[in-house]
C-alpha cells in the first residue's frame, strides 16, 4: 500500500492531520497496536517538525507484509548539524512552536526511540529528509 500527504509549513491548526489519517489506515490494516503507536508517534513528531521549521513538505508511506517505510521530505532551511539536533534538549524552535507544546528538543530523540531504522539527510538552504522503517 502506498500513501502520500502534503504538509504545509507554519500551519499549526493542521499539524498532525496527516499522521491522524495514516493512523486510521494502520488501524484498518489490523497491525499490532504497539507497532502502530511507535510509528504514529515518530510520524507525528516528524510532521510537527515540518510545520515548525519548513515551508512545505510531503509524507510518503509504503506498507508491505514485513514493514512500514515512511519518508518525510521538506523544502526548508535544513539542519546545519544533525548530530546536535539529535541531542535531547537542543532546539531552534520559535516561541510559537513552544506555545503549541513542542520545541523542547525532544522531537528527533523521540523519533529515534520509536523507529527501527532511521536515516536523516539535510542540506542547508534546501531541506531535510527523514526516512524511517518499522518492522511488523
Amino acid at each position: 500500500m502506498h500513501l502520500e500527504y502534503k504538509v504545509q509549513g507554519g500551519n499549526f491548526s493542521k499539524a498532525g492531520h496527516a499522521s491522524g489519517e495514516i493512523k486510521k489506515v494502520l488501524k484498518q490494516l489490523n497491525l499490532n497496536p504497539m507497532v502502530i503507536k511507535r510509528i504514529v508517534v515518530a510520524l507525528y513528531e516528524a510532521e510537527v517538525n515540518i510545520v515548525a521549521h519548513a515551508y512545505e513538505g510531503d509524507i510518503i508511506v509504503d506498507i508491505d507484509d514485513s514493514k512500514v517505510h515512511v519518508v518525510l521530505n521538506d523544502r526548508g532551511p535544513g539542519i546545519p548539524s544533525i548530530e546536535r539536533a539529535m541531542e535531547k534538549g537542543y532546539s531552534t524552535a520559535s516561541p510559537l512552536v513552544r506555545e503549541m507544546g513542542f520545541g523542547a528538543g525532544m522531537g528527533l530523540p523521540n523519533i529515534k526511540k520509536n523507529t527501527d531504522e532511521l536515516n536523516i539527510k539535510s542540506v542547508v538552504g534546501e531541506g531535510t529528509t527523514v526516512d524511517f522503517i518499522n518492522y511488523l
Binding site: G20, A104, K113
Partner: protein, 114 residues
C-alpha cells in the same frame, strides 16, 4: 478511580464526554509539553495539562490517551472538541491549578507514571 468520581473530586465538568464515566484510572501524567506526553508507552493514562490547543488532542490521539483534564481554567476550543469527538476522547475542564489537581488525585491513590 473512575472518571465520574474524578469529575466530582475536581469540581470539574465535561466538555466532551465519550462515555468513559465508569472507566477506571490508576495512573496519571501531568505536562504542558506534548513531546513529553509522546514518551508515554503504557495505555490507559489520565493526562492532566494546561495546554489547550488542537495539538493537545492530536497528541492524545497518537499516545492512545482517552481522557484529558484541562487545568488552570483553560477552555477547550471548538476545533479541539470536534477532534476529540471524532477520536472518542473525553475532555474535562477544571479551574484548579495542575499542582492542586495532581495533589487531589494523588491523595485518592492515583499513581504517577514515573
Amino acid at each position: 478511580m473512575i472518571v465520574k468520581d474524578i469529575v466530582t473530586l475536581l469540581d470539574a465538568h465535561y466538555v466532551n464526554n465519550s462515555g468513559l464515566e465508569n472507566e477506571n484510572y490508576d495512573v496519571a501524567f501531568a505536562s504542558d509539553l506534548m513531546s513529553d506526553v509522546l514518551t508515554i508507552d503504557i495505555p490507559n493514562v489520565l493526562l492532566i495539562t494546561g495546554l489547550a490547543n488542537i495539538q493537545t488532542i492530536r497528541t492524545a490521539d497518537m499516545a492512545e490517551i482517552k481522557c484529558i483534564v484541562l487545568g488552570r481554567n483553560k477552555k477547550a476550543t471548538p476545533e479541539m472538541i470536534e477532534l476529540a469527538q471524532e477520536n472518542e476522547i473525553t475532555i474535562i475542564e477544571c479551574a484548579y491549578s495542575l499542582f492542586h489537581i495532581c495533589g487531589l488525585l494523588y491523595n485518592e491513590g492515583i499513581d504517577p507514571l514515573y
